[in-house]
Amino acid sequence: MKNIYRQASFLLIFFCLWYLVLFLVTYLFYSDSGEFGSYKNGLLGKVPTRTIFLDSGANVDLGFWVSQHKTHRIILTGASNTGEGLKPPIMQEVLPSDFTIYNATMGGSNSTEIRQILDVARMSNPGSMKGTIFIIGVFFGTFFNDSNSRGHFLLKGKNLTVLQAEALRYGLYKPSDNSLKLTISPAYMPVVVRLLRPILMWNLVFHDIKVNYDLFWAHLKHQNPKGEAAKQIALGLWKDGLGDIKYYAGDAQMNDFANLCQEIEESGASVVVVDLPVPPWLHDRSEHYQKYLNQRKIFVNKINALPRAFYIDLLASLPDTTDMDFRDSVHPTPEAAIKWSRAVSENILSQRQMLGF
C-alpha cells in the first residue's frame, strides 16, 4: 500500500506541475479578456479575434465571468450575420470611449439561445444590469422552432442548445427550465474559470485541428455554385432549416421574443433590436421571409413601447442595399458590414438619453 501511495503522490505532483506550467504558458498567448470581440487580424476579417474563453456566444458561460468592462458594455447577440455585420471596432469609433463591446453572437442561434445568453449575463452580473445594452440582431432566420435548432444535433437525444452543451461541458452549470443554473457559488466562478485555462488551451488546439480538417475536406468537395444555382441552394437550405411554414414565427414565438426584450429591460439593461437586411433577391422568393415581415409587427410594437428599448429596421436605414452587399444569402460583405456597424452605432448614439448614457 505504501508503494501505491508513493506512486500516486508522485503522479499527482507531476500532474500539478504540468498544470501549473501550462497555466502560465496560456498567459503567453491569451490574456484574460483583453482581446474580447476585437478584430485584431484586420477589420475585413470574418470573425473576431478569439480569446481563450470566448470563441462565440456559445462560450459566454465562461467568458462573461472573467471579462472586465468599463462603465458601459454592449453585448451583441444574434446569429452569424450579426457577428459579421456589426463589428465592435467600427462601432467603438462612433460610440463613447467608455463602452466595451462584446461579440456574443452565435452561428445559427434562435431566440431561445439569445435568452440563455441573457441568463448567463445576468448570473455573471448579479447586481443590476444597468449600463448594459443588449443589441439583438434579428432576421427571418431567428424565429425557427427549437426542434429545428442545430443545437439539438450536438448531443444526440439530450435536447440541448449549443450554449447549454458548452456550459455543461465543465460541470459548472446544470440545465434548468430550458436554461442554465450554476453548480457552484458565483463568488468562486471567476477563479474556477481561470483555473480551467490549461484545459481550455488544449481545447482550442483540438478545436483548430477539427475545424481545419473539416475545412480541408470541404475545400476538396467545394463546388462553388454561383448565380441562380447558389440562390436555389440557399432557398432550399432556409426552407429546410426553418421548418414547416405553419409553425414558423408563430404569434406565441413573437410574443416570447417581445417578453424576452421586456425581461432584459426589467433587469436594468437596455435593448436595441436590429432587424438585419437580407439580399433583395430573397425578398420575394422565400415564403418564410414574407411571413416574418407580417409577423414582426407583434414584437416591434411591444419593444418600442418599452422605456429603454427600441427597434431599428436596418434595411430602412440603408435603402441603397443591393445584392452586391452580401457574400451569400444573409451575410454581408466586409465593406457592407462597416456601413451596418456605423448605421447601428449612430442610431444608438441618437437615442443616448433613452438608453441612459
Partner: protein
C-alpha cells in the same frame, strides 16, 4: 455506471483503499462481496431491477449444488440446459418473439459473462476439476467480481479463488505500481481519445451513405464507404475494448488480482485462426474449452477415422464461431456475424489442412515469409472489420447493403480494403522498427524516473482535456451491451 465517469474511477480507487485498510480476515468474507454488491447497485435505480439477476445467480448456484449432489451426466445436461434457458429468456432473443418477457426494466449488464462463469464451474465440477465446495460467497464473488463484471476478462474459478485469497496482500514493487498507473492512463488514452476519433470517422462514413434510404450510388462508391466505415469501426472497437481491459487489469493488479489478458497484438495476426488467439482471448479460449473441444470429441466419436479428424475440426470451428457470433446479441444481425466468423475460421482451417496435405513444403516456406505475414494480417483485419458491420448496421440496413453490394461488391471491398490494411500495417511496422532502432541512450531516457512520470502525467492531462472537449461524444463501452 458510466465507466468513464468520475464515479467509476472513485469507486475503483476507493475500493483499493478499503481493501488495504480492512482487516485481512474480513477482506474476502465481507469487504469484497460488499464492494461487488455496491458496484452492481450503481447500475440500477430500483431494487426490482435486480430480481432477474438474483434469480439467475441463484439458479446457477443451485445447479452447481445439484451437480455435486447427483453427479450424473443427465443431471449435468439438465441443469446446464436450465441455466441456458434462463439466460436466453433474460436476454430476450429476437427468435423468441412469441414469448412473454418480463416487462419491467432490469439489469442485463454482465449476464453473458456470468453465464460463462457458471458454465465453467458446472463443467469443472461435473468433470471433478473443481473438488472443493463452492460456497455461495465464493460463487457470488467469482460471478460478480466488480473488476470483471461488465465484460470480463473471463477468469477460471480456480484461478480466481487463488487470487481472491491473496486479496490486497501481494506486496507490489514501486515499478509494478507505476506500471499499473501507467497502463491505466494508457487505457484511458485509448478509450477517450483514440476510440472517440475512430468512432467519429466511422460515423462520418456511415452517415455519408450506408444507412437506410441513403444506401445508394455505384458499387465502387459503396465499397469505398463500406471499407472505411468497417476499418474505423474495428479500430474503434479495439481501442474501446482493449483500453477498458488496460484499466481493469491494472486496477486488478493493484488489488492483487492477476487477471488474464484479452488482447495480444491482434495487428500481428498472420491468419484468421491466429487472430482469435490474440483478440478477446479469454472469450475465444472459453469457447475452445467448453464448445469446440466437446463438439469435436462428439464428432470424433461418430466418425472415429484419424484421417477425417482435421475435416471434423473445420466443422467444429464453424459451429463454435457461429455460436460465438450469435452470443454477441439477440437480434438477427448477430446470426450474420456468426456466419461471417464461422465461414472465416472454417475456410482458414480447411485451407490450412489442404495446403499442409498437398503442398506441405512450399506452404511452410510461404507462411514463414515476411510478405505472407503482412498480407495475412491485412486481409485478416479486413475480413474481421467487414464481419463487424453486424455491430453497427441494423438488420434492414445490413440486408440493404448486402443486396446493393452483392458478392462482387463484398469481394471487391475485401480486396481493396486488404490492400489498404497492408499499406497501413506495413508503415506501422516500419515506424516501429525505426523507433526501436533508436540509440540505446534515447531508449534509456524513456525509462528515466522523472521522464517516465512526466510523460504519463502529460498523457493524463491530454486525456482530461480531450474528455472535456469531446463532452457528449465519447462513446460508452461497447461490450457493456453484450
Amino acid at each position: 455506471m458510466d465507466f468513464l465517469s468520475i464515479k467509476f474511477l472513485l469507486f475503483l480507487f476507493g475500493s483499493i483503499l478499503i481493501v488495504y485498510r480492512s482487516p485481512i480476515p474480513y477482506r474476502i468474507s465481507i469487504v469484497f462481496p460488499l464492494l461487488n454488491v455496491l458496484f452492481i447497485f450503481t447500475f440500477i435505480n430500483h431494487l426490482t431491477a435486480l430480481i432477474p439477476l438474483a434469480c439467475f445467480l441463484l439458479a446457477g448456484f443451485l445447479s452447481i449444488r445439484l451437480v455435486v449432489a447427483f453427479p450424473y451426466k443427465s443431471t449435468f445436461i439438465a441443469v446446464t440446459g436450465f441455466v441456458l434457458l434462463i439466460f436466453i429468456y433474460l436476454k430476450k432473443y429476437a427468435f423468441l418473439s412469441f414469448v412473454h418477457f418480463i416487462d419491467w426494466p432490469y439489469l442485463s449488464v454482465g449476464l453473458s459473462y456470468i453465464l460463462f462463469r457458471m458454465i465453467q464451474i458446472l463443467v469443472d465440477v461435473h468433470q471433478q476439476a473443481i473438488q472443493e465446495k463452492v460456497t455461495l460467497a465464493s460463487f457470488f464473488n467469482f460471478c460478480c467480481n466488480f473488476l470483471t463484471f461488465v465484460s470480463g476478462p473471463i477468469q477460471r474459478y480456480q484461478d480466481h479463488k487463488i487470487q481472491e485469497a491473496a486479496l490486497g496482500q501481494k506486496a507490489l514493487t514501486e515499478t509494478e505500481v507505476f506500471h499499473c498507473f501507467s497502463r491505466m492512463i494508457h487505457g484511458l488514452l485509448k478509450v477517450v481519445i483514440l476510440a472517440t476519433v475512430c468512432n467519429n470517422y466511422h460515423q462520418w462514413f456511415v452517415e455519408g451513405g450506408l444507412q437506410g434510404s441513403a444506401i445508394e450510388g455505384s458499387v465502387l462508391f459503396l465499397c469505398r464507404k463500406f471499407i472505411l466505415a468497417s476499418l474505423f469501426y474495428a479500430l474503434y472497437l479495439y481501442f474501446n475494448f482493449s483500453g477498458y481491459m488496460d484499466i481493469v487489469i491494472s486496477f486488478g493488479k493493484l488489488l492483487g488480482f492477476q487477471l488474464p489478458e484479452n488482447f495480444n497484438q491482434p495487428f500481428e495476426s498472420r491468419s484468421f485462426l491466429d487472430f482469435w488467439t490474440r483478440w478477446h482471448i479469454t472469450l475465444a479460449d472459453w469457447f475452445k474449452f467448453y464448445v469446440f473441444n466437446p463438439f469435436l470429441q462428439l464428432l470424433a466419436m461418430k466418425w472415429p477415422s484419424r484421417s477425417v479428424v482435421p475435416y471434423l475440426g473445420v466443422i467444429a470451428y464453424f459451429f463454435t464461431f457461429l455460436l460465438m457470433g450469435i452470443w454477441h446479441g439477440s437480434s438477427m444481425t448477430f446470426l450474420i456475424y456468426g456466419l461471417f466468423l464461422g465461414a472465416g475460421v472454417s475456410i482458414n482451417k480447411l485451407f490450412d489442412v489442404l495446403m499442409r496435405k498437398y503442398f506441405s513444403k512450399p506452404y511452410n516456406k510461404f507462411i514463414d515469409h515476411g510478405l505472407s505475414g503482412l498480407l495475412g494480417s491485412a486481409f485478416t483485419w479486413m475480413y474481421f472489420s467487414m464481419a463487424l458491420s453486424s455491430f453497427w448496421l441494423d438488420y434492414s440496413d445490413l440486408i440493404g447493403l448486402i443486396t446493393k453490394l452483392k458478392i462482387k461488391g463484398f469481394v471487391l471491398s475485401f480486396l481493396l480494403g486488404g490492400i489498404i490494411c497492408a499499406v497501413v500495417i506495413g508503415l506501422f511496422r516500419l515506424v516501429r522498427k525505426l523507433l526501436l532502432g533508436f540509440p540505446p541512450y534515447w531508449l534509456s531516457m524513456a525509462g528515466n524516473f522523472y521522464i517516465s512520470r512526466a510523460w504519463v502525467t502529460f498523457q493524463l492531462l491530454l486525456v482530461i482535456a480531450f474528455g472535456f472537449y469531446g463532452f457528449g461524444d465519447i462513446p460508452d463501452f461497447v461490450y457493456k451491451a453484450f
